[in-house]
């Protein structure tokens, strides 16, 4: 359970290009699949990065499993992010020139787990996503859907309980979008929390989604469960 109390976020505070991306957000995210929706500029991505400990709120408080995380120092925040959250970025952000497997094991590098163990975890995750045969190939040869699945495998290599995905279906056709929803359903069945942003109606009305949060101009318009 993740809760936000009166959270706001202002970028470039005090400078001429100051932007308030979020204001006064109160929200509770339960296990399951939560979709953040709204037009671009409504604060979806900012909310994701706050929840994922990538940035700190300007005001307000965020708790994770009852623990306040918004005021933790940088080092603890990084540690928390590594172990509790997996990220899938809109442009996937795989590192070119490296193989799929090398990309997938990257988040585990700073944790110092034995390589054999990490590699086994990565391979089983790739296997589950249907990419086992391409583990040794450079990421450039993957198709769009495969690239996304590689990014999901990377997000899950540390066995994070929360998967965060920014516009996961923006670059996918309908068939691949459905494939993605199947994966999300599988993760939900594993007991993981999935938080997505999207303005794709296919996603919002899809079966595995448990909650939809609608944002407009940095504030919550409505929450549907």
């Amino acid at each position: 359970m993740i809760t936000l109390h009166g959270v706001s976020k202002t970028y470039n505070e005090g400078r001429p290009n100051e932007v308030t991306a979020l204001r006064g957000i109160d929200l509770a995210i339960a296990p399951g699949v939560t979709v953040l929706m709204g037009p671009s500029g409504s604060g979806k991505t900012t909310l994701l990065s706050l929840v994922g400990c990538m940035a700190r709120p300007t005001t307000g408080r965020i708790t994770l499993a009852g623990e306040v995380i918004s005021s933790l120092p940088e080092r603890f925040l990084t540690d928390l992010r590594r172990r509790r959250f997996g990220f899938v970025f809109q442009r996937f952000n795989l590192i070119r020139g490296l193989s799929v497997l090398e990309n997938v094991v990257l988040p585990a590098a700073p944790l110092g787990a034995p390589r054999a163990e990490v590699e086994a975890r990565a391979l089983s995750r790739l296997e589950a996503l249907g990419l086992a045969g391409k583990a040794r190939m450079p990421v450039e040869v993957l198709s769009g859907g495969e690239t996304q699945r590689a990014a999901i495998a990377r997000a899950l290599v540390n066995d994070a309980p929360v998967l965060i995905a920014d516009e996961p279906t923006a670059n996918l056709d309908t068939a691949l979008a459905h494939r993605f929803l199947d994966i999300v359903a599988g993760l939900r069945a594993e007991g993981k929390t999935v938080i997505l942003t999207s303005h794709d109606p296919r996603i919002i009305s899809a079966a595995p989604v448990t909650a939809v949060v609608e944002l407009r101009d940095g504030a919550i318009l409505q929450v549907r469960s």
Partner: protein, 109 residues
């Protein structure tokens, strides 16, 4: 588990370090022999009253730099290339035959 990318690089480092170790061992192992050689040289120096290394034999002041004349850094071999720019202005005497540099005085004209 597959071959990790750093393994060959670390192996190369290991090989280089082993080679460095081999060289260090060479230095240590040859030390007694070299010490004996230096002693033989020192004996020769004492017996002959040597003052300099026979490393540069091109001129008196390079063969025996420690005993060189104070003001005369002239060439011992008039046809050898000069160490000083003035050598390019003065032609060597004509009566010198061919030298080890295999040209004669006439060639310089």
């Amino acid at each position: 588990m597959s071959l990790r990318p750093a393994t060959p690089v670390l192996a190369a480092f290991g090989a280089l370090l082993a080679l460095a170790g081999g060289e260090a061992a060479h230095a240590v192992l040859t030390a007694p022999r070299e010490a004996a050689r230096l002693q033989a040289e020192a004996r020769l120096v004492r017996d002959l009253g040597l003052t300099d290394l026979a490393l540069f034999t091109e001129a008196r002041y390079t063969r025996h730099p420690s005993l060189a004349d104070l003001a005369t850094a002239f060439q011992d071999n008039p046809l050898s290339f000069d160490h000083f720019p003035s050598g390019s202005l003065i032609a060597p005497p004509e009566h010198f035959g061919p030298t080890a540099l295999s040209f004669s005085a006439g060639d310089l004209r």
